[in-house]
Symmetry: C2
Subunit: 335 residues, 2 copies
């Protein structure tokens, strides 16, 4: 069966089964492994704490388009998405490696700009760029690998419990709005253009939030990369629970409503690449979280004991809302 038919998540699931069946489970490395395939980062026990590692590949014309993406922003974003993965595990980032495939016709100065963006966010979050690799290719490919370290407790996708509240930071959908604005030349005022564009090209949530949440007793989190609804579904599948979201509680940005009207709710739920944290916690823990963050996260729903994967949507009157909020699959995206 072709990859396009089985889809990204179908393929990952087959790979995970193969590793489970044929990987040596008796090796010392395997015995120290806490989390393999299936979370935002892999994790293992070490004498210094819990070590984390994550990797992300960005491909020209799949993940970015040089007609509206600058090299420095691209460097920032390629590192940001990995820092986000470490943050969403409750960890702090440490060392980065950058593997680059670069056509020979590209300018060396552009590659240095890419590194300037990488270094800008790396310096902000204490990441040391420790190495990498360069190869020829027809298109630009950027693969960043980032290590991190977590304290006693991690944030995972597997620990959500019925009764947990569901919360998010920031306004979901702004990156998707930026992608639309940049690729479809939507006419916007300067403030909206700036907001949407920055959200897409240079995501800058507070990537220190994960360890703080872990310290407050939160155990379940994911970063919004595939889309709020899809990422909540990832948590539900991994934890064997369901979830209900309330449209009236979703923080939909006023400028999203202004320019996208009725579609703004769908964009908030389906738009990916926000890299804000989506997390669940008991009402008691959520109270502490609310008192500790300014602005506080928005509580948008709750975890239930229903059929896993089922994310239900209710309007302010408690009636079901039907929106196709899809979610990102590299081989099944609609546009």
């Amino acid at each position: 069966m072709r990859i396009a038919e089985i889809g990204e998540f179908g393929l990952i699931s087959k790979i995970a089964s193969l590793i489970d069946a044929e990987g040596d489970r008796q090796s010392p490395a395997r015995r120290d492994l806490l989390l393999g395939i299936g979370d935002d980062a892999a994790a293992w026990k070490s004498p210094g704490g819990i070590e984390l590692i994550t990797t992300d590949i960005l491909v020209e014309d799949v993940h970015f388009d040089f007609s509206y993406t600058g090299w420095k922003d691209l460097g920032w974003k390629s590192m940001a998405i990995n820092i986000s993965d470490i943050n969403s595990m409750g960890g702090r980032p440490r060392y980065a490696l950058a593997s680059l495939a670069l056509p020979g016709r590209r300018e060396a100065e552009d590659v240095l700009d890419l590194y300037r963006g990488i270094l800008e966010i790396s310096n902000k979050y204490g990441v040391a760029v420790a190495g990498g690799n360069i190869s020829a290719a027809d298109k630009v490919v950027i693969n960043i690998t980032l290590t991190g370290i977590a304290g006693g407790d991690m944030l995972t996708r597997t620990s959500a419990q019925p009764g947990d509240l569901v919360a998010i930071f920031g306004f979901p959908g702004l990156s998707a709005a930026g992608h639309k604005a940049l690729s479809q030349f939507i006419n916007l005022d300067a403030e909206a253009l700036q907001l949407f564009k920055n959200a897409h090209l240079r995501p800058a949530p507070d990537f220190n939030s994960g360890p703080l949440l872990a310290d407050l007793g939160v155990r379940t989190a994911i970063d919004i990369s595939d889309g709020l609804a899809a990422d909540l579904a990832h948590i539900c599948v991994a934890s064997g629970v369901a979830a209900t979201l309330h449209t009236g509680k979703l923080p939909v940005h006023p400028l999203l409503i202004k320019y996208f009207g009725r579609d703004s709710l769908r964009i908030s739920l389906a738009g990916g690449e926000d890299y804000e944290l989506l997390f669940t916690a008991t009402p008691e823990v959520m109270k502490k979280v609310n008192a500790s963050f300014d602005p506080a996260p928005a509580i948008i729903g709750e975890i239930t004991a229903g059929k896993p994967h089922a994310v239900s949507l209710l309007d302010e009157g408690g009636n079901p809302v039907h929106i196709d909020f899809g979610g990102w699959d590299h081989y099944k995206h609609p546009d």
Copy 2:
């Protein structure tokens, strides 16, 4: 200036300078860093020892050609080249992440074959495959990241001293012969075809040699990826020394001589992707090494105090031999 003009190593040198100038040197991660850009792997201090990490990107039609490369062998090789990097630092590999860019038209079963090759060599060397990432793309790109751990002392490129002897394991050039045989359809007997092909498609040196060498007191090593002469030059530049090689002492495989005649010496010196260890050590340490390995490595030359980068070649009569042994640069390769 275009990347093609400045070349792979010119670009890496500019990136290293930029990181040195603009990367935050005060961060805790940076202060624990032992080796950044410029060796086979990055290294830092941790409570459990010295941690190592390496990454390598393989691009379809640049590093491999599906007209003669099977997916399982490709999986083996993509992991082997990273295990080799950890071995050449004197470390043992631990956790691997695989980032894949895959066209949707490719078969899912082929990707599972890739993982079967990855798992085969991972099981052999105690590596746990801990995660990864899949993206769409026009061509197949495989980026493996591998962590490792070293005991008290590492093998680096920077510690060669005048008076050290230079030694290698195995027969250099067999992988290059395999590449020629496969891509240019050279007519070979079955034994030679098998030997050359395996060396190129499924490199299998003993990747346990590095930690053993480190225990015996060796401090300088590199794996032969760019070519014996070029990789020795990497050591010379990093250590600020020169080197002399003796053509009469080079282990040139009889089948290489049989099929490539006078060119076999150049292929041994210039051919890359052998992944055998090239190392230097004092005569006393080398004596211990020779007694500890069977087959023993071949002593092929010595480190001198001459102009760095200068690798001289002498024939059995002590006369200079002039061979253009080039060495791999992604943007400057001859064929």
